[in-house]
Symmetry: C2
Subunit: 390 residues, 2 copies
Amino acid sequence: MRDVYVLGIGITSFSRLEYPIVEIAAYSSVVALKDAGLNRVDHVFVANMGAARVNHQTALASALVDHLNLMPCGAETIENGPASGASAIKTGWMAVASGLHDTVMVTGVERMREVNNLEATDFVASLTHPYAEQIYGVTLPAMAGMFARLYMETYGVTSRHLAMVAIKNHDNAMLNRFAHLHEKISMEGILDSNDAMTNNPFVADPLRFYDLCPVSDGGATLILGTAEMAKKIGKPLIRLAGVGQATDTHCVHERANPTDLLAVRGAAGKAMEMAGVKPGEISVAELHDAFTILEIAESEEVGFFKKGEGHIALEEGYTELGGKLPINTSGGLKAKGHPVGATGVGQAHEIVTQLRGDAGERQVKNASKGLTVNFGGFGNNVVSLVFVRE
Amino acid sequence: MRDVYVLGIGITSFSRLEYPIVEIAAYSSVVALKDAGLNRVDHVFVANMGAARVNHQTALASALVDHLNLMPCGAETIENGPASGASAIKTGWMAVASGLHDTVMVTGVERMREVNNLEATDFVASLTHPYAEQIYGVTLPAMAGMFARLYMETYGVTSRHLAMVAIKNHDNAMLNRFAHLHEKISMEGILDSNDAMTNNPFVADPLRFYDLCPVSDGGATLILGTAEMAKKIGKPLIRLAGVGQATDTHCVHERANPTDLLAVRGAAGKAMEMAGVKPGEISVAELHDAFTILEIAESEEVGFFKKGEGHIALEEGYTELGGKLPINTSGGLKAKGHPVGATGVGQAHEIVTQLRGDAGERQVKNASKGLTVNFGGFGNNVVSLVFVRE
């Protein structure tokens, strides 16, 4: 098994992008190739969830290879719902680790705003269980609402804690030019003022508008390769040191304790074990905050905090920029955006940027070890990655 | 890099299957698990092209893991158009070869007949180039028609040769209980009789009805693992000895010589090189005959025959059951059927069945080395596999 390193990274703005999906993918790919100083790779993996449905486009990986004139390099699309991005990175890891390829480009992409929000919500709901969930009309926000309510009742989390996640991540996004939302929000504006109900209406009680991520378009790319390649490039050596994945019951209601996210615990545990890193050693993390409650829950499941204490760490500023363990310095899905297939690659992009020391105003000091959690389904298939600066 | 072996195989009938797609996938998976004597695997890869569009189902891999109660095993869906199946097998190979997993289940599945033939054709056309092909309304049969016409003009292939492929593969399918079409056809019935135009009308001149594969539902599974695991199981040792992939221009009209299938040549060449096998040593091959002309063209590109001489070998019975190098003993896509995501895995299922000596009436004598070609796009992304009996 060979070690695997990050050779290059690239990203587009996460926002509404009026380009064909293959061009969005091509953009972040070209940025990453330039970053790595390469004009060829041995293989391409594309992470995408919805092009077949939303963009009437299949075989997107072949289209990207052609668009970038990378023939005869092979390519596939990897889909694992909202965790497609990290799944594709893990697959890229396998390609290099196995010795089959020396350089692999992993590009995550989604163009969700080609359809309206209702269709986008329906599209995302296609990841739910076909006859135990989907046919009853349950959507992801509905699941997250039920999950949040149970979490609040069990652990004393309040709406203010949820809002704190949103405010922190919107603050971070102000420092990230690739983020979808550049909008500073405050407790006053979204919870405490007379017009809070207008500014921040309920979407799925107890979740309100600012508890949900936006529907975004975007692309992000990571180029992986061997140690030899990485040393040639002359950038800080960032190793993809751990890849972990775990599944849980497809249906949330079948879990013994529905506030437990066992797949998060399993995936992050495996990734850290493989990397030989403990939760307390992580400098910076990108957690999958499609809904604010998830950042709190995941911060506990990965082992940063005890179960039920994530919201206390949040209150104490532990996870903000300048805190002991900054979470979602990019703005997270909440404010950076959530172009589904690109999300997991975008998380890795942020961690690599931090470990390289290139994060500018949002730089975490002495960042040396970073973790991502990319959350598929409603926690039924989770992929976690650990990056280490050498 | 560790050697990778086949531990188990399973398949459903390829036909119209009135079950939810996840149950079709589960069926072949359970058959393969039973064949391998396993009730757990370390990871699952699902090959599928159209569930998001045709079945309103994404995250199919997670649904399958849940359906089979394989949690917490990780899973992804791999899509590479009609070559999704072999792409997923290649990815499974990487997972075992890299040392990340010891046992991997690869299940290809498609349920295309949930929509009508017009919608199925439109769905498959979504793999064409978005603004150089798709918007002009070109479909795969249209491309194959143009390709066939050029091939006939260049190499002297006639409609009778195309019909010979169909007749041979229908004959083979009569001996395969999993095949979609159990219908013996003859030159008299489809070309020479007064009612041939009624029996066998033009679809995309020069291709007629019997030159095209049917639209099928189906699932197929391969379980891969280490040598140690394979030896425990006590079946003939079948090694996945070569995995090759290559791309070509997405658009057929951009190829210097549109009758060349460079990606077939590249993929099969790499797979055989990796396996240390020459074309002349192959005992049995499954080639991607979605259109009859493709079997002829691919049999040349993989190196079995000189360019332009495939139809002569066919005429001489070289590729029929009992010939020197039987091609598509399963019936091929032409008569076994083409449930897109399952096709490449189904090809591998046939080769393993042959190498194990389990093919019954269609058994190729002393079969020891088998090759598959799984053709994505119109030859823009091709994956080839070589299996060797040890």
